[in-house]
């Protein structure tokens, strides 16, 4: 730091410069923390308030009275119970859709990337260009063709859960390009001599993937799993277009429906939003260490 090397101001000058800088720095950081956390915080306080407390107190004020002795005032966990029971079924639907969608798009992306980097054949560059282009296709652009496609390939007519399968397949397909690109950049750093050594050791292409490439891709799987899980879990648009049966609703749709049925109960909505966000946070915590490893690779 410049202040540490300046000798004109002397030691005391350095110390006061330093502490002033520090104060300013921490002040700014705290301000940002407050800024980012305030919506979450007010959401959290709202979710624990009764309707009456919600209308009568500031959103930032917790449901606690400090005087004459600190005690809970207008505190309730009812919004959480209500939201929980309203969202429970859609949470199960979400998990049933997100887990296969995430795992399969990561796996297929990894396989594709392996084929594009470690196997030599003609036309690779063209195919890679297609995948790259696909990453940039916005959700909105494919809504109509997507709807049309699924009315031709009509899985939903086969089974009442068919819509959910359609949504899952859509997310897998939509996730493959970005997963492929992520895995490709990782596989490019993987030593070619490893693959060659395995070929000389007598392993086939499939065996090399299974025994060498796949185990070495675990950090990258953590990255793509977190990314895909968040993307797919949070998706609203595809679900809105593909799901019509309330029984198949995923959590994002159900959360939206919550707003309609419980028109003014903000506490329930806030609790619902937290419940719906919980799995993505848990996934980050679960794969966080691997994620950091994958990011630095």
């Amino acid at each position: 730091m410049a202040t540490e090397t300046s000798d004109e101001s002397g030691l005391t000058g350095t110390v006061s410069d330093l502490s002033l800088n520090r104060v300013a720095l921490y002040g700014a950081l705290l301000a940002f923390v407050g800024l980012y956390l305030s919506p979450l915080y007010s959401g959290l306080t709202t979710s624990f308030k009764t309707q009456q407390a919600f209308t009568q107190t500031s959103p930032l004020q917790p449901p606690i009275e400090l005087l004459p002795v600190p005690h809970l005032e207008g505190f309730t966990i009812d919004p959480w119970l209500t939201a929980g029971s309203e969202l429970a079924f859609s949470m199960i639907n979400s998990f049933a859709m997100v887990i296969p969608a995430t795992v399969l798009s990561a796996l297929l992306g990894s396989l594709t990337a392996y084929g594009l980097t470690k196997v030599d054949w003609r036309g690779q560059a063209f195919l890679l260009a297609l995948f790259l282009a696909a990453v940039f296709i916005p959700y909105q652009a494919v809504l109509v063709p997507l709807r049309q496609f699924w009315s031709i390939v009509d899985i939903s007519s086969l089974h009442e859960r068919g819509e959910l399968v359609e949504l899952t397949i859509t997310h897998i397909a939509y996730g493959i390009p970005i997963c492929t690109i992520l895995f490709r950049s990782y596989y490019q750093t993987l030593d070619d001599e490893l693959i060659e050594a395995a070929r000389l050791d007598g392993a086939s292409l499939a065996r090399i993937y299974r025994k060498i490439v796949l185990p070495l891709s675990l950090p990258m799987f953590a990255v793509t799993l977190i990314y895909q899980f968040t993307q797919v879990w949070n998706d609203f648009l595809f679900a809105l277009v593909l799901l019509s049966n309330r029984a198949n609703y995923v959590v994002t749709l159900e959360l939206n429906a919550l707003q309609g049925s419980m028109a003014t109960d903000y506490g329930v909505q806030m609790a619902g939003a937290f419940i719906a966000a919980l799995p993505t946070i848990l996934v980050y915590i679960m794969f966080g260490e691997q994620f950091a490893k994958g990011q630095t690779l």
Binding site: L194, D201, G202
Partner: protein, 383 residues
């Protein structure tokens, strides 16, 4: 156990813009069973490509690679019965040493697990890595990783052993130690081996036979001493030996029976002159250790010189000399005994004996006359 033959093997790479690059040009080699062949040359000379063609990692553009009498050009690497040690060792980082060494046997043979285990244990013991079997490659030192890479190749019991610059990642001391160890190992295994290196010291010390490549073309194949004392051309003469052979551009003066250089004249005997066949543009070559210092400039092959730089090596001194009569631009090196004292700036007489000179055709680079070699007086190669 088998003999490996390369017959006019070429490799042409076609670049994206359609340009063709010939990496290996009509190389023919024979490696007998149990023979240690070192393929040596500067970087980019095609030696690794040649090795990779033998391994089956690169296709062969033309020519034939045969194992005994079977042509193996179109065989997959795994069908060639060849094991290779890579420069980066290419150990599987997620597997233990044991798993690394068993992998090849599991993939390419029907050997039962207990047999694989005993083969691996035996090879590990042979290499002194039996203590490390349960560790991961990342926990090993460079030298230990090197041994594991060797072990992985040995357990396969291959017909041919390929080594691609296996020692280049080791420090100098360990490299010298592994050099002898590799030689011993190869003798024990008695398998045809191709060893690729850019280091002429490794080539000289380890090889039964050296093949020198430059720019994709085979320059010479021979025993280390043949290549050292009887180089077929300028490239080989300059590449083998450290410090390199001294070269002087000279022209032949037939009337005066001498070679003429800007800084000196060199008188030739009739015998030497006849070997030159009247070629006028020549290169005179002399190994540093063949030049001696001292005495008076009283005959045709002694020259007044000035010492420019002295590099003491302990056992010997490399002395850089310039001709007193010249403009000082032509420097050449003489290797003298380490105990002989020479100071920078000192005037000394350098003796360039005629039986030790090499003469090359400057246009083609071909050797017209190599040093005379009587086996008992042959100087030890300087490495």
């Amino acid at each position: 156990m088998a003999d490996l033959t390369l017959d006019d093997v070429s490799k042409v790479f076609v670049e994206n813009d359609g340009n063709e690059i010939t990496a290996v040009d009509d190389v023919s080699l024979e490696i007998d069973d149990g023979e240690f062949l070192v393929l040596v040359g500067p970087s980019g000379c095609g030696k690794s490509t040649t090795l990779r063609m033998v391994a089956g990692l690169e296709t062969v553009s033309s020519g034939e690679i045969r194992l005994d009498d079977r042509v193996i050009n179109d065989r997959q690497p795994k069908e060639r019965d060849i094991a290779m040690v890579f420069q980066s060792y290419a150990l599987y980082p997620h597997m233990t040493v044991r798993e690394n060494m068993s992998f090849g046997l599991e993939e390419s043979t029907d050997m039962p697990d207990d047999e694989i285990a005993s083969v691996v244990a035996e090879a590990a013991e042979m290499l002194g890595i039996d203590e490390l079997l349960d560790r991961k490659p990342d926990d090993l030192s460079g030298g230990q990783q090197q041994r594991v890479a060797l072990g992985r190749a040995i357990v396969r019991d291959p017909e041919v052993f390929l080594l691609d610059e296996p020692l280049s990642n080791l420090d100098a001391k360990l490299r010298a130690q592994m050099r002898t160890e590799l030689q011993r190992l190869q003798e024990e295994l008695d398998v045809a081996t191709i060893y690729v290196t850019h280091d002429q010291t490794e080539a000289m010390t380890m090889a039964d036979k050296i093949a020198i490549l430059d720019d994709g073309q085979l320059q010479q194949v021979g025993t280390p001493l043949e290549c050292y004392h009887e180089p077929e051309n300028l490239f080989v003469a300059g590449f083998i030996g450290e410090p390199s052979m001294n070269f002087f551009d000279v022209s032949l003066d037939t009337a005066d029976e001498r070679l003429v250089h800007d800084d000196f004249d060199y008188a030739l005997s009739a015998e030497t002159q006849s070997a030159l066949d009247g070629t006028e543009a020549l290169v005179l070559g002399i190994r540093p250790e063949d030049i001696s210092i001292g005495g008076d400039a009283d005959d045709d092959h002694r020259y007044e010189t000035v010492v420019d730089v002295v590099e003491p090596m302990g056992n010997e001194n490399n002395v850089y000399l310039t001709f007193e009569e010249g403009d000082g631009s032509e420097t050449f090196v003489a290797t003298i005994d380490g105990l002989e004292r020479v100071e920078e700036g000192e005037r000394v007489v350098a003796h360039v004996p005629e039986d030790a000179i090499h003469v090359f055709d400057r246009r083609t680079g071909r050797a017209l006359r190599n040093r005379r070699l009587e086996s008992e007086t042959a100087t030890e190669p300087q490495l």
